[in-house]
Amino acid sequence: MAELAENVNRFKEKNANLAVIGSGDHRHFKEFREKTRYDGLLLSDPSLAAFSLLGFTGGITGVMSVRSVFKAVSAFRQGHRQGSVQGSSLQLGGAIVIDVSGAVRYYFASAKAGDHPAVDELIRALDRSSRSDSP
C-alpha cells in the first residue's frame, strides 16, 4: 500500500482514475489514510459483491500462507505496523484496469495475503491501453 500511496501522481499523469477499494467501514477511511498516507480516491465494498465478482476471495489458506507470514514479519521489521483490522480478513485483494470502452486491460488476483501488483506493472497496463487507443 505504501508504494501505491507514494505513486498516486503517476496515475494522475496518465489521466487514470485510481481508486483503492476495501471492505471495511467507510468510517475507518481517516485512520487508513493516516496509516498509509494514501490521499487518492478511497471506497468500500462492505458486501464484498465486487470482490466476489472479480474472484478476489480466498480462504484461510491464502491469508495465512507461509510466504505471507514471512512478508508480514519483513514489513514489521521495516517499521510497517498493521493496526486493528477493518474489513473481512478472509478476502484477498487484487487489481483491475478497465478502459472507457469497458475493456479489461489488466487483471491481477492476489494468491496470498501481501501479494499485490507493482505500481510499474499497473502503469505499463495504462501505457498499453493508451497505445491501443491511438489511431
Binding site: 477499494i21 467501514d25 477511511f29 487489481a95 483491475i96 478497465i98 469497458g102 475493456a103
Partner: protein
C-alpha cells in the same frame, strides 16, 4: 490465479461507498477515464 470470465457490465452495476457513506456506481469510475481499481484486503 487465472482471470475469471468477468462481466464488466455486471461489475459496473454494483455500488460501493465513498467516505461520506454515499453509494458510488462502479461504472462511473471508468465512464470518462481508464480506471485502476486496487482492492485491498482490509483497512488497517
Amino acid at each position: 490465479m487465472q482471470q475469471p470470465d468477468i462481466s464488466v457490465e455486471s461489475l459496473g452495476e454494483l455500488a460501493v461507498l465513498n467516505g461520506q457513506g454515499e453509494r458510488v456506481k462502479l461504472s462511473s469510475l471508468w465512464e470518462n477515464q481508464t480506471a485502476v481499481l486496487v482492492f485491498v484486503r482490509h483497512f488497517g
